[in-house]
């Protein structure tokens, strides 16, 4: 019932809410739990046994009162601030996901000298002391207001107000409320979940020092029927009385093994309740006299051994006697909240006096203070209280998991000796409350069952309390999930209706369908334009690295399989790189810009990796080489103008043209500085126009305009792939997969015999040098209209298709070719070069395609077209 006065609730602001469709009222300042308790509302029935359950605790340790509020499942009612119109549904330990979370959850980094975790008495004292020194102080507390357990003790509220005001006066002190420090990671990095209207914020704090003032959680007592509604933690009863002005019962039995529950007894008496204290300790507490003088009864050497009532408790057994009651306030002692200390790598020690695990050695820069450090009343440990009938199956250790002492005994009976085994066998500690009230009791029960001396040990892992997925995800959603990199010409592609593909983080035009056109039609059209007229592609995504220094040529010689030191200035050469394992790593064209200056291009996806690779070898192996690398990937927009008419187009715009294939000139195009190279990835006459990124769009548009009379056609990555495949040029990452050497690709010519390079030694290992490795070949389907799927596996024609079927290789690239008027493919095929002219089969789910093995060059094998 709600007391007529007192508490920290705002009685001028009544709030209406529903639980399971029934309307109730509460006040601002209530939690959903305190308002439920004021209205005698039960929690949901238990998960397996369907037993009625009530609210047990007043904080995050609550094992029973889980509710669904709107779309949010699995909130402990004790942590839900009451607001007007809340519609709550009680749950039986299992929530329901139905709708996406549209809350706004963001993140921020923060730094401080001292992070104080917990705004109770100890935390406030630490924060004030640190604040007075001028240090940068962070104080985080999970409650809506500071005070911690002080909020349950009205005689401290004046001091609380003073301290909170002083904290507010420190310019470098920041107080976060509704903020739970849930993770303590390496190097004093802590995560805080802050509840905010409509969502929350994840704080990542790097702290100089951390003060853990996280308080303690009370332990229940383990007796028969200890889960009956009306059995509550004594400290929680006190919180409901004093903070929320809710008295959970009027005839109370307080059952304890320590002095802390006497304060609850006294407060209950003051509220007008009848109180019987059953203190398990034989020696009477010094506080007993206070209780008696306030009108209560105290019995030493007595404990509750069972309960009756349905659903609420109506009486308890005290050994052979029975006492009527409607509230049982229990205290089995307190567990310091050592979770963060433990997460930080700190060790724990079992303290006999308090029968609790307390911080022992800190590993990082943290200190525990107050009750979190074990400053607690001594207790008489009492892990289990036998029932009169000897049964153990209603002695609940973990209420949310419906796990009892009987379950623990079954586990130890099965041979389990480790607490971890028992927990897994019984599922104790794995529910939403993370076993906060169950954990240490379980260890005590196991120790008793095994006849071991002391319980333990245990460790804690993040998070301290459950954290919404949405909070950890933060704003990295939708377009912000991962940067979408775009070129300077991107807006043009979008306007032109391009379809895009993701290549690494880049968005690249895939093809440019005309209205009503299929992808196949579009690609055939684009290919035809590049082969017969002129096509144009945005190649800006290629990685570009300038290498400057007198040893640049020597360095490139060591990195690439082929040689670059003697490359004439003004010319370019295709190169290939291997990993130390001898497998193809990347490829690209290298230009020699000056005697001491090269420009290396990389594949789109590998740009960063190649630069890292260069720097790694330069810095760690060959620091004596005088070379410096600078990424210029985005300095240049790159426009590939391709096809027999490309010279007409580029010639109309460029002041100068490169004299021959694999040469380049620094000139102007459309009036802006440009580097124009005769490089071809298609086998056609082609020009690669490089201009500063900010000129990219204008020059692209100029190229389009100049090419209009020739029907210039923009093409995407798909057409690029077809054109290069017709020429048998491999794509690293498509025709290779990390298991392919340059020799496997049939590119013996690119592997220098005279110089050393990274990976060379690997090429003559027994397996790598085997003649029957998979080698790159061409395939022509026997039916020229049949398109081999990329990824089709290849077998010899007479192979029975009973698994496991011996496979020869797979199709790496496969297209329809406008130039060939048929389909074709590239494949990696075992002993492929010995199979030229033979037929292989590609058995698919529904049919088998036969194809003839060919050289991988299908188009213009003489290379006559590259010169126009």
């Amino acid at each position: 019932m709600r007391l007529p006065s007192g508490g920290r609730i705002d009685r001028t602001t009544p709030l209406t809410f529903t639980v399971d469709g029934v309307t109730h009222t509460g006040y601002r300042g209530d939690t959903l739990a305190s308002a439920m308790l004021a209205n005698n509302v039960l929690a949901g029935p238990s998960i397996h046994l369907g037993r009625p359950r009530g609210i047990v605790a007043a904080g995050v340790e609550e094992p029973n009162a889980l509710v669904q509020v709107g779309p949010e499942p699995m909130l402990p009612a004790t942590t839900v601030e009451l607001t007007d119109g809340i519609e709550a549904t009680t749950l039986s330990g299992r929530g329901r996901l139905a709708t996406p979370n549209d809350g706004y959850f963001d993140k921020t980094y923060a730094h401080c000298d001292v992070l104080v975790v917990g705004g109770g008495r100890a935390g406030l004292a630490a924060a004030v002391e640190a604040g007075r020194s001028g240090a940068r102080v962070f104080l985080a507390d999970e409650q809506p207001e500071l005070g911690g357990s002080l909020l349950s003790t009205p005689d401290t509220w004046e001091w609380l107000d003073t301290v909170v005001a002083e904290l507010a006066s420190f310019p470098e002190t920041r107080v976060l409320t509704r903020a739970t420090v849930f993770g303590y990671y390496d190097h004093n990095y802590l995560s805080i979940a802050q509840r905010r209207p409509g969502g929350g914020r994840l704080w990542h704090v790097r702290a100089g020092r951390v003060v853990l003032a996280t308080g303690a959680h009370e332990r229940p007592l383990v007796f028969a029927g200890n889960d009956r509604p009306g059995v509550m933690l004594a400290g929680a009863v006190r919180t409901y009385l004093n903070r929320y002005a809710v008295r959970p019962g009027r005839r109370a039995v307080v059952c304890t093994n320590n002095d802390s529950a006497y304060a609850t007894a006294l407060d209950l008496l003051e509220s007008g309740a009848e109180v019987l204290v059953a203190d398990v300790r034989d020696e009477e507490s010094a506080l007993a006299a206070l209780v008696r003088s306030a009108g209560g009864e105290v019995r030493a050497g007595t404990t509750v051994t069972g309960t009756t009532g349905s659903p609420w408790v109506t009486s308890v057994s005290l050994g052979s006697e029975t006492a009527d009651c409607d509230l049982v306030a229990v205290s089995g002692g307190w567990n310091p909240v050592v979770h963060l200390h433990s997460q930080a790598g700190g060790t724990l020690r079992y303290d006999d006096a308090t029968a609790a695990f307390v911080p022992d050695v800190a590993r990082q820069a943290h200190v525990s203070v107050g009750s979190a450090n074990g400053e607690l009343d001594p207790v008489h440990p009492l892990w289990t209280i036998p029932a009169a009938d000897g049964s153990w199956d209603t002695h609940f250790v973990d209420q949310q998991r419906d796990a009892t002492v009987a379950d623990v005994l079954r586990a130890t009976g099965a041979g389990m000796r480790s607490a971890e085994h028992v927990k897994r066998y019984t599922t104790i500690g794995t529910a939403h409350d993370q076993g906060k009230t169950a954990g240490v009791n379980t260890l005590g029960v196991i120790a008793e069952a095994l006849g071991a001396g002391t319980p333990g040990p245990t460790t804690y892992r993040p998070p301290y309390t459950p954290v919404p997925f949405a909070l950890l995800a933060g704003r990295d959603r939708g377009a912000l999930l991962d940067p979408a990199r775009v070129t300077p010409i991107h807006a043009w592609h979008v306007a032109r209706g391009a379809e895009f593909e993701n290549v690494g983080q880049w968005r690249r035009p895939w093809y440019y369908p005309l209205p009503g056109e299929t992808m196949t039609e579009a690609v055939l059209r684009e290919c035809r334009a590049a082969r017969e007229g002129v096509g144009v592609q945005d190649a800006s995504t290629l990685g570009k690295i300038e290498l400057v220094g007198p040893d640049a040529g020597e360095f490139l010689n060591r990195m690439y399989t082929n040689a670059f030191a003697k490359l004439p200035v003004g010319t370019a050469r295709y190169g290939m790189m291997c990993t130390a394992d001898g497998m193809v790593f990347d490829d690209g064209v290298v230009l020699r810009l000056a005697e001491d200056r090269y420009l290396a291009t990389t594949t789109t996806g590998n740009a960063a990796a190649v630069l890292d690779h260069f720097e790694e070898w330069l810095q760690t192996e060959w620091p004596d080489l005088r070379v410096h690398c600078t990424s210029v990937t985005e300095q240049w927009a790159t426009i590939a103008v391709v096809g027999p008419l490309s010279g007409r187009v580029v010639g109309a715009l460029a002041a100068d043209l490169p004299p021959k294939f694999m040469a380049f000139v620094d000139t102007t195009v459309h009036g802006v500085p440009a580097r124009v190279a005769r490089i071809s990835f298609s086998g056609e006459l082609a020009y690669e126009v490089n201009v500063a990124g900010w000129h990219g769009l204008a020059v692209w548009e100029a190229v389009m305009a100049a090419g209009e009379e020739f029907g210039i056609t923009p093409y995407g990555t798909e057409t690029m792939h077809v054109l290069r495949a017709e020429k048998g040029y491999p794509i690293v990452g498509q025709d290779t997969d990390g298991t392919v050497t340059p020799l496997d690709l049939g590119m013996d010519w690119i592997v220098s015999k005279r110089k050393s390079f990274v990976g060379k030694r690997s090429l003559r290992r027994p397996d790598t040098a085997r003649p029957d490795r998979k080698q790159l070949v061409g395939l022509l389907p026997v039916d020229p209209d049949d398109l081999l799927p990329e990824g089709a596996q290849l077998v010899a024609p007479d192979t029975p298709l009973d698994p496991p079927v011996p496979m020869l290789g797979h199709v790496t690239s496969s297209y329809r070719s406008a130039a060939l008027g048929r389909t074709f493919a590239l494949a990696l095929l075992r002993s492929g070069r010995d199979r030229l002219g033979q037929v292989v089969h590609a058995p698919l789910a529904d049919r088998t395609i036969a194809a003839i093995v060919t050289e991988p060059v299908f188009y213009d094998p003489e290379g006559t077209r590259r010169d126009g």
Partner: protein
């Protein structure tokens, strides 16, 4: 000096937060050198060289920043200073664009994505760092005590970063 054929990576982007804007086309020249005849700023600091800002990028790497169109002059200056000394001078002006984030919300905005401690006692005017802002690599420098920060970001990442900033600043306007 710019011409009307130039288009910045964020041309066409409207910044909803009034304290974020693009400073396009700044000249930037990358210098990598062992020994240099003129004093260059030390780690995480910005210095000057003949009227240009010089940002420390690494133990042998600096970024010389000047007004739009200044890159050829900077290159000439650096080459002359180097003489026969081996060093790498590369124009990277178009590699990045610059975002200015300024005013009372600047620090809290950047803190949402930048793991550096930007407290005035740690990072102030004249400081610079290569770091991360959200999921983009940036060069960050504080220009004045307002505070105004300059965020130098690769052109391809600029639209992402602009979108991120629009989101990060939405509580401030």
């Amino acid at each position: 000096m710019t011409d009307d054929l130039m288009r910045s990576p964020l041309a066409g982007v409207t910044f909803t937060a009034p304290f974020v804007r693009e400073l396009p086309f700044l000249a930037m020249v990358n210098l990598r050198v062992g020994t240099f005849p003129h004093p260059l700023p030390g780690p995480n600091r910005v210095g000057t060289l003949d009227g240009r800002d010089v940002l420390w990028l690494g133990p042998d790497e600096w970024l010389v920043v000047g007004p739009p169109g200044d890159a050829p002059a900077i290159e000439t200056l650096l080459h002359q200073a180097l003489g026969d000394t081996h060093g790498s001078v590369v124009d990277v002006s178009a590699n990045r664009t610059t975002l200015a984030v300024s005013g009372p919300h600047a620090r809290d905005t950047l803190a949402k994505g930048c793991p550096l401690d930007l407290h005035p006692s740690v990072f102030g005017p004249g400081h610079c760092a290569q770091t991360l802002l959200a999921r983009a690599q940036v060069v960050l420098r504080q220009v004045d005590a307002d505070p105004t920060y300059h965020v130098l970001v690769r052109g391809s990442f600029a639209p992402y970063l602009a979108e991120w900033l629009a989101d990060a600043t939405r509580e401030f306007w």
